[in-house]
């Protein structure tokens, strides 16, 4: 009997080890090797060429534009996310599930279509194209278009994180605050916001990561004008297509470092959230 139990445990251990081994293999091939390739290609000709590529004026201009797009789209989507999560989680009303579906809609629309719809509205042959040209306003192939495209693809992130969290927290604490005489804003700042801050941080991090790296949607509306409408990911593409691999991977390394920073922040927010 005892040998039977022993062989069963041994079999189970063997199974566990095999599964853990497979997970490690997937992890190394899928996640570690791509990281390694980016770094090794970037510094294959030494650190000097890395810094040259990262510090050249076009790369700096691209970085600035990326930060502008992130700086505008993330705060707007945070306000939207909090507002959407508030009305979805604190009230019952007809059409609520439809509203939630619509909030998630940008997740199932291709980024290329996200760019396309703004071209159809504001491009030269678009609905408002003539009017915009007469008034000398440029949206497509300019910064406003890039911001709009980034906004579209990042709309759901904050709301998506906050809705389940706020639904789970219910309304008791807010009710108590109101009954004790707090105004609506006082209730929000002193009760709701502290309760959702880690969920909010988590949503902001995901939203920022996507806004930093958005490629397809921005690519459609950008026009790829170096130094003017080129974001960092688009700059990577241009360098790569010019067979300037070292420069492409050097700029990619900057984006990779930002991505890893976002992952660390996300992990930190998540651990706070679970407490």
């Amino acid at each position: 009997m005892s040998t039977l139990v022993l062989s069963a445990t041994r079999q189970r251990n063997l199974g566990a080890l095999t599964l853990i081994g497979c997970a490690w293999l997937v992890f190394v091939v899928f996640l570690v090797l791509p990281l390694y390739v980016v770094l090794s290609e970037a510094i294959q000709q030494g650190y000097a060429s890395f810094f040259t590529a990262v510090l050249e004026p076009d790369a700096i201009a691209a970085l600035k534009l990326t930060l502008i797009a992130v700086g505008i789209s993330v705060p707007l989507n945070v306000v939207f996310g909090v507002s959407a999560a508030w009305c979805v989680s604190k009230y019952e009303f007809r059409g609520k599930s439809l509203l939630v579906t619509l909030i998630d809609l940008p997740f199932s629309v291709s980024p290329i279509i996200a760019g396309l719809i703004y071209i159809l509205l504001f491009g030269a042959q678009g609905f408002f194209g003539e009017w915009l040209a007469e008034h000398d306003i440029q949206i497509i192939f300019a910064i406003p278009g890039i911001v709009l495209a980034t906004l579209f693809v990042t709309v759901p992130f904050v709301a998506r994180e906050l809705i389940p969290l706020m639904q789970q927290q219910g309304t008791q604490e807010e009710e108590a605050a109101r009954l004790l005489g707090a105004s609506g804003w006082q209730m929000f700042w002193h009760v709701t916001l502290p309760n959702i801050r880690w969920g909010l941080t988590y949503g902001v991090v995901l939203c920022t990561a996507r806004a930093l790296g958005e490629f397809g949607a921005v690519s459609v509306v950008s026009g790829h004008i170096r130094g003017f409408t080129n974001t960092l990911p688009l700059h990577v593409e241009i360098l790569y297509n010019e067979y300037n691999h070292v420069a492409a991977f050097s700029v990619a390394t900057v984006l990779l470092v930002m991505a890893l920073l976002m992952l660390i922040l996300k992990q930190w927010a998540q651990e706070r959230l679970e407490k």
Partner: protein
């Protein structure tokens, strides 16, 4: 209209109003604009554009590759989630934290990294080409890139569900004489299936529209490795707005039919 959970919580009109206005301006009106734009086309013209061999082969490739990538994720995502939740081993926390890398990493970076890795002379590509397998610039490479960018979906949707299944349930089943296969069939699969399907759907929807990570490794050879989003991009570069719109509308419609079917399947499974 509103039946508040509690009458003392303020802000319903403000938040609902703001949500609707913002969503309409950024998402709904522009999307509706595309449908209005497409209405300039007659059915014949629309059909003519979407039935060219180039578009049809891109349609098959886009949806086929997305389906395969979502299925592959269904397997390795489940494996990763299972291992992270059920076992304690060295490196577990690092694996858990880095699973989200594909969400954080810009898709263009992922694209050039995978292309370099799997190019015929690349770090992994050289072994593949020794074995006579071409990865970069083939549909296989596209599936690989899509699997990479959608890797976290299945893991992250089934991980919390798996954590919530009490171990006692499986132990009870085992004590009652169930073998591992029966435990899997009657305890684990029914509990995990809805979340698994959600993860699968999210991965599939994302993979269909994915552009940045694919275009580098695809090589974009007409009729062979062109995906639908790339074709839209080509039409736009030729200032063929109507052509781009027609393909865009078709892509949205086919996506929604797929998502609807998966949704119905999910409801059916939850009921039974």
């Amino acid at each position: 209209m509103a039946r508040s959970v509690s009458p003392v919580i303020p802000g319903f009109n403000l938040t609902l109003g703001y949500t609707l206005v913002y969503l309409s301006l950024i998402v709904l009106i522009p999307l509706a604009g595309m449908l209005v734009y497409a209405a300039q086309l007659s059915w014949q013209d629309f059909y003519r554009i979407i039935s060219t061999p180039q578009v049809v082969s891109a349609l098959k490739l886009s949806f086929g590759a997305a389906l395969v990538a979502a299925l592959v994720n269904g397997v390795i995502g489940t494996l990763l989630a299972w291992v992270i939740v059920r076992y304690r081993f060295p490196g577990r926390k690092i694996i858990d934290a880095l699973i989200d890398l594909p969400f954080a990493l810009p898709t263009a970076v992922a694209g050039i990294a995978l292309t370099t890795l799997y190019a015929p002379k690349g770090l992994l590509g050289q072994y593949a080409s020794d074995m006579g397998i071409k990865v970069a610039f083939t549909p296989f490479g596209i599936v690989l890139a899509l699997t990479f960018v959608t890797l976290p979906f299945v893991v992250r949707t089934i991980q919390p569900v798996l954590e919530d299944i009490p171990r006692e349930l499986e132990e009870a089943a085992t004590c009652l004489g169930a073998n591992s296969f029966q435990v899997l069939r009657h305890v684990l699969i029914p509990a995990l299936l809805p979340a698994w399907l959600t993860g699968f759907t999210l991965a599939f929807a994302r993979a269909v529209g994915e552009y940045g990570s694919v275009i580098f490794i695809a090589g974009n050879m007409p009729g062979k490795t062109e995906i639908l989003p790339f074709l839209i991009m080509v039409k736009l570069d030729q200032y063929d707005y109507l052509g781009a719109t027609a393909i865009g509308v078709m892509m949205l419609v086919v996506s929604f039919v797929f998502l609807l079917l998966i949704n119905l399947l999910q409801r059916y499974l939850i009921k039974h």
